[in-house]
Amino acid sequence: MKEIIWLGRGGQGAFTAAKLLGAAFTIRDDDRYALAFPSFGPERRGAPVRAYTKLDDAPVNDRSQTEKADVIAVLDDTLFGPELAGLIKENGRLIVNSRSPISGAQTVDAQKIAEEFRLPTVNTVMLGIIAGSTGIVSVDDAAEAIRNYMPAKIQERNINALRKAAEEVSV
């Protein structure tokens, strides 16, 4: 099972990204399973939010919060702290949206890409970065998830941002 923890602030769409990743993973294949859930609580703009995606090739029975993740995606670098290292599996990745480098993390200027496509948030950019740098889901499947689950008028910009982000990090 692959487990992804999303850290963001209320309004940044961390949970939307968690859902899109789960939808993308299961979009073509009936033998793939996913759960996506938020750290439950009142939704307040600006407050720290966690969301979780669990991906597997068997039904996901464990609905508890992830204790060790394969990937942690941090949408806002003010939420980064050294304690996050304790939440990552060995060989796991910690990806932070940040303009300046952070020791122990892979940083990427997701904000810049979001601005390029006139997006107010970086959630689909971070989804593109995960798709591009880990291959957990293909960029095409992630784009298809956006087409299926985001409002029509913002799909195109988000898909373009997703593709640009994936290109920037893919090797």
Binding site: K19, A34, A36, F40, G41, S64
Partner: protein, 389 residues
């Protein structure tokens, strides 16, 4: 059939759309709100033809559903926690009037301290109200229950309202892949509601009347018979469901590896998956572990539980409930089933997840270890204590 990535609330709303309720009474409360929001969107876009009534309280929500059902309509409402408690008076009216209303309850903690997260103290406090009570484990089962609930509730021998319970947040707000049956399949499975138990100008009758000491007793006996009749009707309904939709459910309980199990954990709702995973791990270590998931608390699976535990050495009941001053209510019910069947083995009670606290894999393993050690305690996961009075 189409596949979608949906939350438990959304999946349940899809099931209700397929069930074609004619009246929906709506009053929002977290974590149920999304169900009535989705249904309002479906009514607005014309994909569900129903009278959608905004009411001013939960008491009114269920009163409205009772009125609709008394007019012969298929009725739906939804609630949670304090909302369920506020409508408690009406629960008894609905059951006593034999109105086969379906209500979704998002299982949530009860105040005080105020808390919006999931536990099962709200619905379990209403076991005696005369409603059928089902507990879903995942979003697919939630959708399927929404469809099956009307078939079961509206069966003439049953004629009892149906409460479908989804663990707050853990089910209601978790997204997963769900198969949505086609409209044709759903219509083939669930015919329109036809009843004599309705206001009819051509055949006037007295409804929702009072009954004195001589006859009241008989009505209560009949009400009890109605809930018990659901046992067989649930089995028939699930077989028909499997024939049409290809998914077979297992009646009042779902038993996992219980045939040869020495140590069995009994639970209900969304935590059951983690219990089964833990049983698998223990099996690999040579411990014969099993799990019983209670799917229906009313009618209660006395026979199923006794059969599953017949050859076991010990058991535990894990529940998100406490009846203060005694033990968890599910534990009380399970113990009664075993006593009636003459099964005398050691059992213990784990109270967990109150106010939405996470129950981890380690907690479940620890529960099994307590069962194996022959514990007879009532303990709060993470706090402990021997709370037997």
């Amino acid at each position: 059939m189409s596949k979608k990535f949906l939350s438990g609330n959304e999946a349940f709303a899809e099931g209700i759309r397929l069930a074609r309720p004619e009246v929906i009474s709506a009053y929002p409360i977290t974590p149920q709100t999304i169900v009535v929001e989705k249904l309002s969107e479906m009514v607005e876009d014309g994909s569900l033809k129903a009278e959608y009534v905004h009411v001013e309280s939960e008491h009114s929500a269920l009163s409205c559903a009772i009125g609709a059902s008394a007019a012969g309509a298929r009725a739906f409402t939804a609630t949670s926690s304090q909302g369920l408690l506020y409508m408690a008076e009406c629960l008894y009216y609905a059951a006593g009037g034999r109105f086969p209303i379906v209500m979704m309850n998002a299982d949530r903690s009860t105040a005080l301290p105020w808390n919006i997260y999931g536990d099962q103290r709200d619905s379990l406090s209403q076991l005696d109200s005369g409603w059928i009570q089902a507990y879903a484990e995942n979003a697919q089962e939630a959708l399927d229950l929404a469809l099956m609930s009307y078939r079961i509730a509206e069966n003439k021998a049953v004629s009892t309202p149906f409460m479908a319970n989804l663990d707050g947040f853990i089910l209601t707000h978790t997204y997963e892949t769900v198969d949505i049956p086609s409209r044709e399949q759903a219509d083939c499975f669930l015919p329109p509601y036809v009843t004599d138990n309705r206001l009819d100008l051509d055949s006037p009758k007295n409804m929702a009347f009072s009954a004195g000491p001589d006859t009241n007793f008989v009505f209560k006996f009949r009400e009890h018979e109605g809930v018990l009749a659901a046992r067989d009707v649930i089995a028939e309904t699930e077989n028909d469901f499997a024939r049409i939709f290809g998914r077979q459910y297992s009646g009042l309980t779902e038993n996992y590896l219980t045939d040869d199990a020495d140590f069995i954990l009994i639970t209900l709702g969304s935590i059951a998956g983690l219990c089964r995973e833990t049983a698998d791990k223990l099996r690999r270590e040579g411990v014969k572990a099993g799990v019983v998931r209670i799917r229906y608390m009313r009618p209660f699976p006395n026979e199923e539980i006794a059969e599953a535990l017949e050859n076991a050495k010990g058991y535990g009941v894990l529940e998100k409930d406490i009846s203060f001053g005694n033990e968890g209510t599910v534990f009380t019910n399970v113990n009664s089933a075993l006593k009636k069947a003459g099964i005398n083995i050691k059992g213990c009670n784990f109270i967990g997840g109150l106010g939405g606290r996470n129950i981890s894999a380690a907690d479940i393993r620890n529960a099994f270890e307590n069962i194996i050690a022959g514990s007879q305690k009532v303990s709060f996961i993470g706090i402990g204590g021997d709370c037997i009075g």
